[in-house]
């Protein structure tokens, strides 16, 4: 055991928490303590505070509601022109900054992802209203591209001056004859991006999903994938697996996707959910309305991917598919095991921390575990309690003003399109402990004494690093240079540091290699100049094996 490993086990997590909290003034301390939990996977009464407002002046990595709606959910969809209604910055900053990839089927296929449309409001629009300008912008976009659809995103000032983007959308839709819809996703509406996900889910569900019932979708096995955003080409790998299994992927919400495919996305037999936080709403609503079952999958980590693929095959219950899937898994796992055997001895016993997203901080723990690394602290940026503690706590989650702000759609069963056959299949499978509508969250899978921290602040991450000295820290670009100044390598799990894909089997291999590279770099050895009298080892990660 290296000194550092000892350190991470010697430290008493409760003491550490006390120390970190002690630096906050009373009120802040009280609030932050609830979002900073020492884990015990067996203790069902353990609660974490999540999805509450960040305290003003405490620096957060969270974005706004608009970012969640436009950037996350609608960002990766290529056949929609996204018009940001507001002053210029909001649009500019969301212009092609996520690394979603897309693959139009032909050269002529629409792809508007590279555009940043904005009404670029000026003071006269703020004073006299911006609806007229918005209408003009919509007409322009229509004339320029004749796009499949147009979406309008409201930014903060819009809500305040009272522009009715929905009325504008309806009017323009009637006039231009394409689908046009607006989102009331002003940045202040919610606690974080998460509110924007919900708002996006609602609108996509009510204005897009199911509007094309004519389209013939008649392959034998049909599925939607949800909550996969095709960062670094993750979805492309998964699409290949599904193809090999004989499944038609009808729509993906929303990596490598089109609005057009959402319109007939109700013609599937199954929805699988990757990122529970951002997309569970649509999955739930589709089940209510159309009777399509959903369950949670995870394609981050080779073992998790194998399990998820086999579960999908078992759901369909088709012998041929099960056989093909097992072959696929065996073939791929062989390659994966070879790399693990090579990499694991170098990484075994190292520690990781990850603070990111609404599902990644959970999913990536599997990948690290496969190479023998332990996650000693983790947390989300914009998740809710169910993402930590599991869906079982949903009925107990306190509804605060921010949550109430976002409409919960009332969805009713649509008799003519409802699929009782799928519900029967679900009931049958449930008897054999096949889980649907499931997500157990991050906490049950982390060890006792690990720290679970929601919306971690700079102060907290600095202290954690100083005291626990993890070997690697996973977060995003905003934390990257802070953490690296501490001498700890940071792996970006939003944009993958321009690497990837990391999903599925090849993705797992890519990730192991990447972590090996990061933990064996020579850089940290050079921190101290040779003429320094007592060299301090700053990034002690490397000294053992290179």
């Amino acid at each position: 055991m290296s000194d550092k490993e000892k350190l991470s086990t010697i430290i008493d997590p409760d003491e550490l928490k006390k120390e970190i909290m002690a630096k906050y003034p009373g009120k802040v301390q009280k609030k932050r303590s609830k979002g900073f939990v020492v884990n015990d996977p067996k203790d069902e009464s353990l609660e974490i505070q999540a999805n509450v407002r960040t305290i003003p002046g405490i620096i957060t990595q969270r974005g706004c509601t608009y970012a969640g709606c436009k950037g996350v959910i609608l960002g990766p969809t290529r056949d929609v022109v996204n018009i940001v209604h507001g002053p210029i910055g909001c649009s500019f900053y969301a212009w092609l900054t996520r690394r979603n990839q897309t693959r139009p089927l032909t050269e002529e296929d629409e792809n508007f992802m590279t555009y940043a449309f904005s009404t670029d409001m000026q003071d006269s629009n703020i004073v006299f209203g911006g609806e007229a300008k918005l209408k003009k912008a919509i007409k322009e976009a229509y004339e320029m591209f004749k796009p499949h659809s147009i979406a309008i995103f409201s930014t903060c000032p819009v809500g305040l001056i009272g522009d009715d983007v929905h009325a504008v959308a309806r009017e323009m839709k009637a006039e231009l004859g394409i689908n046009i819809f607006g989102f009331s996703c002003e940045g202040y509406r919610g606690v974080s991006q998460s509110a924007g996900h919900h708002i996006a889910n609602n609108k996509i569900f009510s204005n897009v999903v199911g509007i094309n019932d004519e389209k013939v979708v008649d392959s034998k096995f049909r599925m939607n994938m949800m909550g996969e955003y095709n960062i670094g080409g993750d979805a492309f790998l998964l699409e290949d697996y599904f193809k090999e299994m004989g499944i038609e992927l009808v729509a993906s919400f929303s990596g490598n996707s089109t609005i057009e495919s959402y319109e007939y996305a109700h013609k599937v037999d199954l929805n699988v959910v990757m990122c529970h936080r951002s997309i569970n709403y649509i999955a739930e609503m589709m089940e209510k309305k159309y009777g399509i079952p959903w369950f949670k999958v995870n394609f981050i980590g080779a073992h998790a991917s194998a399990k998820s693929l086999i579960k999908i095959a078992e759901y369909y219950g088709d012998d041929e598919m099960i056989k093909k899937t097992k072959e696929l898994v065996d073939r791929e796992m062989k390659r994966v095991e070879e790399v693990i055997a090579e990499v694991r001895p170098k990484l075994e016993g190292k520690t990781a921390m990850m603070f990111v997203g609404g599902s990644r901080a959970h999913h990536y723990q599997e990948l690290f575990a496969e190479v023998g690394m332990e996650t000693v602290a983790a947390g989300y940026e914009f998740a809710h309690r169910d993402d930590y503690e599991g869906r079982r706590v949903i009925p107990n989650i306190k509804i605060d003003a921010d949550t109430r702000n976002i409409e919960d759609l009332t969805v009713e069963k649509l008799d003519e399109q409802f699929r009782p056959d799928l519900q029967e299949r679900k009931a049958k499978l449930e008897k054999s402990e096949f889980a649907f509508e499931n997500y157990d969250g991050m906490m049950p899978e982390m060890r006792k004494g690990a720290l679970v921290i929601d919306d971690i602040s700079h102060h907290e991450s600095e202290e954690l690093i100083a005291k626990v000295k993890p070997d690697i820290f996973c977060a995003g670009i905003k934390e990257k240079y802070v953490i690296q100044k501490h001498g700890i390598p940071l792996k970006q799990l939003h944009s993958y540091d321009y690497g990837g894909p990391y999903a599925g089997f090849q993705g797992a291999i890519n990730f192991y290699r990447e972590i090996e590279r990061m933990l064996t770099t020579n850089v940290w050895k050079m921190v101290d100049a040779p003429w320094k009298e007592e060299p301090e080892i700053v990034g002690s990660v490397v000294t053992e094996y290179c």
Binding site: I59, D123, K485, V527
Partner: protein
């Protein structure tokens, strides 16, 4: 000649950023200053992300985190809480506040809120507070930058200490540029106050112990000396005239220079961005005149080497056609330089909309060239115009990359933001040395282009 291009209502791929970004960048150049953006948290997060991906450094900017409630009852309580928390956690010398479109639309009275905060938090009375109103519907990032400097002068500076220093207001340039300027004054033996001083705080070395507030920036001592200094020199022909990147607002804007003159009766000189030999000569002349110092031999030589390089490289750049875009003052500087080395700037574009851009460009052009000049332009308009002008290269920040890709011509990355290459903070643009680097980069990009588009593969050019 102003080209008759079709005007659009929507902005498609903007060629400007928003005002709190510029303000926060300027505040980062004040020692011990933590910026707060007063509005919803998304703006601060986006601004941080943008600055971080350019500078690749920690960039802490706090937010007053508006909720729906704040949009109804005002953001006072949130701002006060943000000030308190930043004050306690960072122990800053100053806090630099800029407002967002939201808090401005609501009409928050920030000076009033600050007064209340002062009463309620006497323990933080030592923390200086600067406040700039920076709604982005009244200007772009470059306005924000200037407003923040104005705020620093008004709220944080003084003239308690009489001195022989020169105040230098360089504007939005890279840390490498700021370091160059510091060296110039150092070498001349003339004390200088850089306002702001971006030479270090956004390009830090690796640290042993983490620093919540990076080193560097205009010091509190220097802020006290501003009013008692010898005078000031400011870079830029547009914004220092009180123009805004937004003509719609028609407000005559206070400039750092005008405030220095009004508040302290300081005399100042305005020179353009010192890019190219002529512009750098004017800068040195201004410094020599104000300081009474001699031109150091070192810079004579630097200048000489640059002239030598111009003659060496002339055959490669002469009559090449360039598209240039970015902030107005910066573009004006680049244009003068390009025209000086024999490049024809065929399309000169800015997202700003000041009234003075075109006329200044025309003054600066040495040849009889008639470039297309676009103000209030976005990248789609630039892209459309590019098809007619047939450029050999494009010069500007990373956002224009897609145009260079469409046209298959090199992009010389300058200015802000550069987030698709490493080292944006170390790109030097100004002085003889910065010009020299820029010149070499342009020539080499053209040579490389020639080589890689040639079947034979000449290795002797």
């Amino acid at each position: 000649m102003k080209s008759p291009h079709k005007t659009y209502t929507a902005t498609r791929n903007a060629c400007k950023l928003c005002a709190p970004l510029g303000a926060s960048m300027a505040y980062k150049g004040i020692q011990g200053c933590v910026p707060i953006i007063h509005g919803s948290q998304g703006c601060a997060t986006y601004v941080r992300r943008y600055m971080i991906s350019h500078f690749r450094e920690p960039v802490d900017i706090a937010s007053s985190n508006f909720s729906e409630e704040s949009t109804i009852f005002g953001g006072g309580p949130n701002l006060k809480m943000a000030l308190t928390n930043v004050g306690n956690q960072y122990k800053p010398h100053h806090i630099g506040i800029s407002t967002t479109c939201l808090s401005e639309t609501i009409g928050d009275d920030v000076p009033q809120i600050i007064q209340e905060f002062r009463k309620e938090q006497p323990d933080l009375s030592h923390v200086g507070l600067a406040h700039a109103a920076t709604p982005s519907y009244c200007g772009s990032h470059i306005d924000g930058f200037h407003h923040a400097i104005v705020a620093v002068i008004k709220n944080l500076s003084d003239k308690t200490l009489k001195n022989d220093k020169i105040v230098l207001l360089p504007g939005m340039l890279s840390p490498a540029d700021y370091r160059y300027l510091k060296d110039v004054f150092d070498f001349m033996g003339q004390d200088v106050i850089l306002l702001p001083d971006l030479s270090e705080s956004l390009d830090n070395p690796h640290w042993h112990d983490y620093k919540r507030i990076p080193d560097g920036g205009t010091t509190p001592q220097e802020l006290f000396e501003i009013g008692g200094s010898k005078g000031f020199i400011q870079f830029g022909d547009v914004f220092n005239r009180g123009a805004s990147a937004n003509t719609v607002s028609k407000r005559k804007i206070e400039t750092p220079g005008s405030v220095l003159s009004d508040k302290y009766q300081l005399k100042g000189k305005t020179v353009g961005m010192p890019i190219g030999i002529n512009a750098t000569d004017r800068f040195f002349e201004a410094v020599l005149e104000m300081s009474g110092k001699q031109m150091p031999e070192r810079y004579e030589k630097e200048r000489g080497r640059l002239v030598d390089a111009y003659t060496d490289g002339h055959k490669y750049v002469f009559e090449k056609r360039a598209v240039v875009y970015g902030e107005e003052d910066f573009v004006i500087g680049l244009t003068e330089f390009l025209s000086e080395i024999g490049v024809e700037p065929v399309l000169i574009a800015t997202g700003g909309k000041s009234n003075v851009f075109e006329s200044i460009i025309k003054e600066k052009l040495q040849t009889g060239h008639q470039p297309k000049i676009m103000t209030g332009a976005d990248f789609e308009e630039i892209s459309e115009q590019c098809k007619d002008v047939n450029p050999d290269f494009i010069i500007g920040h990373s956002k224009g990359y897609y145009i260079s890709k469409q046209l298959n011509v090199p992009l010389i990355r300058v200015g802000f933001p550069i987030h698709d290459r490493i080292g944006g903070q170390r790109v030097k643009h100004i002085g003889y040395e910065g010009t020299h680097e820029l010149f070499d980069r342009i020539v080499n990009a053209l040579l490389e282009y020639k080589q890689s588009n040639n079947a034979i593969g000449y290795k002797y050019l």
